[in-house]
Symmetry: D2
Subunit: 319 residues, 4 copies
């Protein structure tokens, strides 16, 4: 039921891994924005790098844009699934892989598309990357940069997790809502919506829990320009506000003009090579060689998804 | 603007630290539920333990309950702020403490109630604990237990952070929504809405990022009872579903019937004893002795808040 | 469950007719607005005029306002129910009056507060009038004026319905959202939420269905000032845009700068004097003399409620 | 921004009249529902009858359905616009037709797709009819029947308005939410979202405003079966609940088990044949012969749209 994120700049996605198409509707995109389609393609290429599945990811723009300019109406887009091998998944029709959402989706819906993980597949994130690339253009000149900060151990034939760090620069002070709409909480939600995300921390994060208060507190820098009364102070970045940034640029749920910094932990993909023990519908265990194509180190593909999710959150605040 | 959490079981809170009252409206509570007011008082007492500020926390129930039974209409409640010392905060009228939301709220709203942190104060969480205590009764027999797992270093006169772990037991499989409504993502959001929360992880969390895939994957246990077709399978707990619980009981965003386990990192409170350097409205630094009463180790008071937020999330899924 | 109206300027109301209090939370009110409490009292007095029940309607402002200025945080308010006569309703404990919501609420919730209609009572509208009076200040200089356009037949001892007309002036062009957020549709929703509202029409309304197209179409007036490119053109009203206003100032769901005009039909109140035949819980009919105090011509009290609902809709678009 | 209707069974539509496609996403459709595609085609045919524009309305189902069965995931669908004549609208590039949304959309968005009304075109309703046809299957055995009750005067070469009546039968008591979620208010909103709708009334509607209370009140019928305690009483219809149905089957915002009856007034279409006086962007008047194909009596095509909107509202309550 929750296929929509955002309340002002909203993305609703659709599509199963081996269905006809994956796509979405962006509602709330400002009008008169000139869309840079090349930037969209570049982000899609980053998401594809090293992928086992070969998809062209050609985006069909169905509405909301005329002559490259947004109309202020819903932007619908569609990406056909072309490189599908449904036959690879025949063995999974009546059993559940360990670690996957096969079992839980079946419990919730009483039905599932077993081919390639159906809607639980990370294939769905292609729609987020498209929308995220649009959102980045909406929030410019705010910039988002994510990168792999750490990779899990390399082991022969095994899959690897890792940690992605993200830095948002150019964001003015005053962005975020108090109480239940905190910028950090909205980012945490967005990041944990990425398949295989298992941890989130702002600034110094878990390490901050082990600091003394006097170590943790970010101190004001004196030569900061006079604080002006405007709603959103300018974040030129020429002089930082605080000497450290343990809080990650957010105080009381609202940005303070420093870079917003956070990290996302990803567990290794749970599709292991070779035979795995699956749970059948009748409650027995069965050894199955899972087909399909699966990444060994999917973390390398996630920074652009992290950026997309961050852009969606920010666009929702900034439009 | 975002003072509401939930879409089916909804809590909207209000109130400033030194205003007349703090409280909320619960909308969507099922009718014909007999409210255990003693349980509400017990949770409020847990939140008060070791608090510097002495509040009686007497809850006035304004609507939605008749003769102790819920009517299905909004439950409004109010808690008067009694132990307020607004004069302690005079020095903060025109300057911003380091680490607090003083500066960011001023940037966003162009005004703030400087007394005791205004609405950014953790005083607001008293309303969450009241609503959380109601939510716990709504989701029974599901049980939530949070406790301090780790405390930051004790240092003379300094403040301490820490880590709280939480375990939800009795939750059936099938709870959670895919994509942007994942149970883990909703929990992450809720936890990061707690003042001073700075990190969140499900199950093995950040440690999972450093595991090999073959270590991480939670394996099926064979003797599990036959999986039945019902929407929500029974989570009797008599026999676990998997041999490990690295994922924290959620797969593909949906509960699998194992205990849901997560941890929340809290940074030390940023109100340091003694003189601190504040930023004035005119952009200068000024040494200020911050008055008011502040906890040295607030983490001890947070488990009941963690439980309340988890209960609100679950009630929203289960009603 | 639907005790909230609005998505940006939001009002959530609470309270039963004979409970402790009726009130609400306004979320999304801009900060730094100076509240005119006298205007709130004046609107409450309009709502009280000719009322059978005598209430003082003293508003307790619990949060969100400091020294008369809004903080941008939730504005909670409470009005104690003082003139309650619960004993008048004893006879209704186990039976349903004709025409009322007694039966339907019981069917939905399995419980109801039978005293004075409980939450279905028009007593709840006092909270809307308070919030509406605040909303009017938010949308100034846009002005809303409603009045009784027509009263139903006067009959000895009977109750009367009527029609209220409303005119919004000073609203610029460009307000409203297409498709499902049309200004006219949002107004229709808001008006039909008023107890006893049974019809709504924009501009010429039902009469327009009987016009020929060439009669109906509102024609441009030539001397209109050059249309400027701004998002919201100025609606000075010095020169009208069209020669007629059959559409009621809204085209394609969006205001055109002409006055917004609509009418709301109210049926007579369904509490008839004397004995009425009620349906008992066991499905029999029983003659009951319904106690309580009820207006014979409640329509006279509705214009300020119509204005309040219109103000809430507009504030939601304009903040 | 408001291209979504519903909160549990949600429809988001997209598409411009002369863009590539019109379509939507249905989110919240229950899983395991077998879709009757023939019923969808039949409703589309009803919408097409007598249409000036010739569209095949072939629906491409992109997701959410596998082997004809719903998966519980978003159902995306797309209908290509084939019979487009953009050249017919060249004259409207820089001027606004009277009565249309041309001017207001330009004021709001600063841009518009002038071809065939762009997104303001009734072409968009094709997506609603598709989703409505699905919604009807979700709410079965509840039945919705709308028909033209009255047509405006026939005049040579002129356009005609009219009134459509709608009756929902089989709806149990207890459907609807109090206060701001009233079934009648939600229906009013949905109906007023249909292009050219200008009035709405429940039951006796505006006529009820002119009745005496003793005439208006719907009286209980004695032989009604014992009211059972269930949440939704059975609406067998074998014996009516009340002797009249002036209220239109809704009391206190909640259905009472009687047929839900309402009427919608439509004004004549505002595209008149021949030359019309348009407002240019520079604020002058210009005689323009408007091209494109336009219905003279569009009311004949609206009953299926009224049914679709009613079905969407009901599905949102019933899922």
């Amino acid at each position: 039921m929750s296929n929509t994120i955002g309340s002002r700049f909203k993305l609703t996605t659709y599509g199963e891994s081996h269905g006809l198409a994956v796509g979405g509707i962006i509602d709330g995109c400002p009008s008169n924005l000139s869309i840079d389609f090349e930037a969209v393609r570049a982000d899609l290429a980053r998401r594809r790098q090293g992928a086992a599945r070969q998809e062209e990811d050609a985006v069909e723009w169905l509405s909301g844009i005329k002559d490259g300019i947004t109309l202020g109406t819903p932007i619908a887009f569609s990406i056909k699934n072309k490189d599908t091998h449904p036959e690879d998944y025949e063995a999974l029709k009546d059993c559940y892989r360990p670690g996957h959402g096969d079992y839980t989706w079946q419990q919730k819906f009483g039905i599932r598309d077993h081919r390639g993980g159906g809607r639980a597949s990370a294939r769905e994130t292609v729609a987020r990357v498209v929308a995220g690339a649009v959102a980045k253009q909406v929030i410019a000149p705010v910039e988002i940069h994510a990168e792999v900060a750490e990779l899990g151990p390399e082991a022969e034939g095994d899959t690897r997790g890792g940690i992605v760090s993200c830095r948002i620069s150019g964001l003015p002070a005053g962005v975020g809502d108090p109480v239940f709409g905190k910028l950090n909480a909205r980012l945490a939600h967005a990041m944990m919506c990425i398949p295989s995300a298992i941890g989130f921390e702002m600034g110094s994060g878990f390490a901050a829990a082990r600091m003394k208060g006097s170590e943790y507190v970010d101190r004001w820098i004196g030569e900061r320009l006079k604080v002006k009364g405007e709603r959103y102070a300018d974040a030129t970045g020429t002089s930082p506000l605080t000497s450290t940034n343990h809080c990650g640029g957010v105080q009381g749920g609202i940005s303070n003009g420093m870079p917003v910094e956070f990290r996302v932990a990803f567990h290794p993909v749970v599709t292991l090579p070779g035979e795995v023990e699956c749970l059948t519908e009748s409650g027995e265990l069965r050894m199955v060689t899972v087909g399909g194509r699966h990444d060994r180190c999917h973390v390398l593909r996630t920074p652009v998804i992290v950026e997309a999710m961050a852009a969606l959150v920010l666009a929702d605040f900034l439009v």
